[in-house]
């Protein structure tokens, strides 16, 4: 007990100290290359170790003056073709006599190689050992010359990457089927292809002490709020963490309310969705190594929007949007309503149905709450199992789950049919808005417990609590529940219904404060048909 308290005290002190040390960053001295090639190679080998894939290719070139050089790269990360064609070939065929400007020392030679010899697209100079090692680890090749303390970093990335396929978590009936991949450059290129405006900015960071993950913030300059971008960058800069393996790490580090049930940073796998959000004035955070791109800020209503809404026509899209809201309510409240109705407010149930439910309840030993909890747990187990099992076994799981859980449990008298139906409806409704899955699962449980304790009154208190939480949540300074609370008329065009595209002439003011006009003078289609 006392030790636990002491541990807590130490933990709080650690946090306080880390806050203090943030204010005085200690600058480390960076090590520069030496003039001797062999010393440099020795340093590289010390830093990188004796792994089999670290390649050091020493060679000599030049006919008038023979120069020692070395190429350092990591096998598997580089494209052999680039090394052969763009680096080795021009160097080995280098004829100094053909050059106009003679070079006196190795330093000038390095400059000439950088400017006039190497065929690769991206060549930068760098003198610091750590930076050169980092670029090696990124897949670039380092060129060292004897006699100069400057090295060249030649981009030569060429590793195996996944091709651009349809994203698995977001399939659409209509719309592009491209999805982001794990490769950073591919992701940025996909985004560039959607927004070809010069205003699209991508500001990059490297986060993660060990992983050195590339993270970039993409936004439209002039449309996105300057303060928002500053805030995002500030939060990213304060991250001094070991590793960033996925965008979820970034999300959990920079989000506004880590203990809230609702996510305040959106994510998507599809470039057109991200492009749409950037065009509204939001910022996207692309993380190397994951196809999930984050968007900030996020509103509650975004979890009910899909890309397809905007590609379908107004009436259908509005009806489906309304249905999604309804499914959310059903998913969260169905088991709670059932329990509240059968335990506290029996007068709500029509008489005939009441007798059916009573008959079902007669045969089961558990109280209604326990039954619902058991079935909810069973459903979660099924869902998790379905995710983790290898595909060949998946069929067996679905059959076992459906038959055993549902039918046999009812026949054996473990659970009653109405409860199974309720939980099944709730579960199915949950999948209509998959983005809400985490919040729905927890909310459903909380409301079930509340309704078991205090019936309809408990549900009401829980709803009020949830509403207050939603209304007070802010995502990067934007109220989370914007559209419903506070309610503005301009928000209504994309909230419960999806107004026709030609009528959505302004961007939402929460994000784009300066450049609000989306489209000027857009008329409804029937105006175009005047002959």
């Amino acid at each position: 007990m006392i030790q636990a308290i002491l541990k807590k005290i130490r933990y709080w002190q650690l946090i306080k100290n880390s806050n203090n040390t943030d204010e005085k960053p200690v600058k480390k001295e960076k090590k520069k290359l030496s003039l001797s090639l062999s010393t440099n190679i020795k340093w590289f080998k010390e830093l990188l170790g004796k792994s089999d894939d670290i390649k050091v290719r020493e060679f000599t070139f030049g006919n008038k003056r023979v120069v020692n050089a070395a190429l350092i790269f990591i096998d598997g990360l580089v494209s052999n073709e680039i090394i052969t064609e763009s680096i080795m070939k021009p160097l080995l065929l280098y004829d100094e006599s053909l050059q106009e400007t003679p070079t006196n020392n190795a330093h000038d030679l390095m400059n000439q190689i950088q400017r006039r010899v190497l065929c690769s697209g991206d060549v930068t100079a760098n003198s610091y050992v750590e930076d050169l090692v980092t670029s090696c680890l990124r897949g670039d090749t380092v060129l060292l010359l004897d006699g100069t303390c400057q090295g060249l970093v030649v981009s030569s990335k060429g590793w195996d990457k996944r091709s651009v396929t349809e994203p698995q978590t977001e399939s659409v009936a209509r719309g592009p089927r491209e999805g982001f991949t794990e490769n950073f450059r591919t992701n940025t290129s996909l985004l560039r292809r959607k927004i070809r405006s010069p205003a699209l900015r991508m500001d990059s960071f490297t986060i993660g002490e060990k992983t050195h993950t590339m993270v970039c913030v993409a936004y439209l300059k002039g449309v996105a709020d300057e303060k928002l971008i500053e805030e995002i960058k500030r939060r990213l800069n304060t991250l001094k963490v070991d590793a960033i393996l996925e965008s979820g790490y970034i999300e959990q580090y920079i989000e506004d309310a880590p203990f809230s049930l609702f996510p305040t940073i959106g994510k998507s796998e599809k470039p057109d969705v991200i492009a749409g959000k950037i065009l509204e004035g939001r910022a996207a955070i692309i993380v190397d190594g994951t196809p999930f791109v984050l968007t900030a800020p996020m509103l509650f209503t975004e979890s009910f929007q899909t890309a397809e809404d905007y590609y379908s026509r107004t009436l259908y899209a509005s009806a489906i949007r309304l249905m999604r809201f309804l499914s959310f309510l059903i998913a969260v409240f169905a088991p709670a309503f059932y329990v509240a109705a059968t335990i506290f407010h029996q007068e709500m149930i029509p008489t005939k149905l009441l007798f059916t439910i009573a008959a079902a309840r007669e045969g089961t030993p558990f109280p209604a709450v326990v039954e619902s909890l058991i079935l909810l747990l069973a459903f979660e187990v099924l869902r998790e199992a379905g995710l983790r099992l290898p595909r060949p076994v998946g069929q067996a799981v679905s059959i076992v789950g459906a038959l055993v859980m549902g039918d046999a449990a009812i026949s054996a008298g473990l659970v009653g049919a109405p409860v199974v139906v309720t939980v099944a409806i709730s579960a199915m409704a949950e999948f209509v808005t998959p983005e809400n899955q985490d919040s729905i699962t927890l909310l459903r449980l909380i409301f079930l417990l509340l309704s078991a304790a205090l019936g309809g009154y408990g549900i009401m208190l829980g709803t009020l609590g949830m509403l207050i939480d939603l209304a007070s949540l802010e995502s990067f300074g934007v109220p989370y529940f914007a559209g419903i609370a506070p309610a503005h008329s301009h928000d209504m065009e994309d909230l419960f219904v999806r107004a026709p595209l030609w009528s959505m002439t302004e961007r939402p003011p929460e994000f784009a404060r300066k450049d609000r006009t989306r489209q000027k003078g857009s008329k409804p289609p029937f105006f175009h048909h005047k002959s």
């Binding site: 407010h345 029509p350 205090l454 019936g455 309809g456 549900i459 009401m460 207050i468 209304a471 419903i484």
Partner: protein, 360 residues
Amino acid sequence: MKKTKISSSQLFYTIICYIQSFSIVMNFSFGISGRDTWFALLLGSGIAFLSLRINIAIMQHFPGKTLVEINSILYGRKVGKILSLFYLLYFLFLSSVNLHDIGDFVGLSILPETPTVVILVSFMIVCGWAVMKGLRVIVRYSAAFSWITFIAFIVTTILVSSKVNWHNLLPVLTTAPKSILQSAWITSFIPLSSAVLQMVAPNVCKPNEISKILTKGLWTGSLFMIAVIIRDTAVWGNMAKSFVVPAYETLRLSGFSEVFQGMDVVYAVILITLEFFKIALLESVLLSGFSQLTNQKSHPKIMAVIVSVLMALIASQIFPSIPRHIVFAQKTEPFILSIFEFFLPCISLLRIKWTCRSRS
């Protein structure tokens, strides 16, 4: 003094929500004036409008300042602080009485066997948490709540229309004038209290619109209440006197086909939500008044917890039984309320005029 900014439409809907939430307690006036309660409410709105004008005049003299600050300026620091303390006690009294109403109502309608303390404590947990988040958050929902109530009213009136008998309202104005006046006196202050608004209103972004919004809000809310009372009278006639919550009984009747006949809980929940809004508003007003009294930027979070617990305790003990509560509300409460709503503002206004005159 940190001020939270609320927009004018939010203030408008706040007033309407506040007034609508009193549909639970219309029994006080029904018991006295029976069929002609709607007329009593009309008169009561007139009286409330009068007291509102007085309060608006005071507010316009000190733009952007809340009640507590105005008191300190008008009456000097010491007396002003004591007066503000009385006002705060008055808010505490108001909220405890309303909380007691909720406990009664819930115990009557949806949870008959639960001890009142449980109902009140669970209510105050959510309410206290909402107040800790701030007035801004609570007021954000005012528009949604009041629109839901409007729609519920329209829907239930349509569903009850087969049972409505307009002859129940006739003959008009046959009850004794004394009863009507007493009823008007009750309804003018219980639902339509302006002191609370005086605490909230200065937070609005556009101060010049305050008087227009307050008046519009008051009249819209009162008209809605009159409509509710007319409907209840039309359905129940003289029987409305004997019900504890006549509006709820009408809601219980509404429904079509057997499936939707038992929707009492849903309507009760809507009424309780309005009450939640009102109590959260009162409590946050109390706490902000307290913080202004003690010259702090904002109230410490622990105060919200203390005040919530205090309110729950008071509310559970304040009246021994419902009939006593009704008698208190009909006889004693209007006098207490009229002191704070009417007479004290009158005195403040006179003092303002006197200081103005003595200066010029």
